[in-house]
Symmetry: C2
């Protein structure tokens, strides 16, 4: 199966966007996030824990605990979430896995794919959560 991001990364991005859409609610339980997004509760909970360790998400333990965005949404880029969960190797490795693919000895698709990869990287880097906030609020609340 061809895929861009791992499930972990997908769910992580969904959850963080969700939290950004509901910032005024304070912390939100993993269960609520999971049921809204229709993703496995235990799994998204684990992912949120690791995003907490990365400083992107804040967690409050105990009764009435839950998760929220840890900092100003304008400071959180999508690439930060990808980096925290999946790492950024995909932006530095050959898309078809050719041995010795490098600018000096490129694989046949090196240049073309390199352009696309750069566009993708730039998009993930330029877009911060607050850029999405309006859309996210409008759309996430419909799900």
């Amino acid at each position: 199966m061809t895929v861009i991001f791992s499930k972990k990364c997908e769910y992580g991005m969904q959850a963080v966007l969700y939290l950004a859409a509901y910032m005024e609610k304070g912390v939100i339980r993993a269960e609520d996030i999971a049921s809204s997004l229709k993703v496995p509760k235990e799994f998204v909970s684990k992912i949120l824990q690791s995003l907490t360790a990365s400083g992107i998400v804040y967690s409050k333990k105990g009764k009435f605990g839950g998760f929220s965005i840890a900092k100003d949404p304008a400071q959180i880029r999508l690439i930060d979430i990808v980096a925290a969960i999946d790492g950024l190797e995909m932006f530095n490795s050959c898309v078809i896995g050719f041995p010795h693919c490098s600018p000096e000895t490129p694989c046949p698709v090196h240049d073309k794919w390199g352009e696309l990869r750069t566009l993708a990287y730039n998009m993930l880097t330029e877009e911060t959560l607050d850029n999405f906030k309006d859309k996210t609020i409008n759309k996430i609340r419909t799900i």
Copy 2:
């Protein structure tokens, strides 16, 4: 781990590009392909079998058998290899897996990512093997 293509698909593309680079040799043994590309022989052999079933690759059984490109390289697009191995769902599904993501109720990254995805799809569709042949011959033969 974030990834674009599965290993199957990566190896499949590598192998087909390799065969395109050495068309004048006739059929080439799976073992030679595997050792040149530094990929598992049995695995790439399996992949070539399925590409044979898809009509992209020709196989000759028995002694002095092996694999070669089945048709004019100008007729083989990279997207055909992806379609045969991984399928094309990635070009029709939400990149962050949002429930109900569609043009009417898009996920927050729907538009931006959609552009990139279209660029990727077009690249894979427009490029046929013969477009790569010169580069491939020059580069593959150095590995």
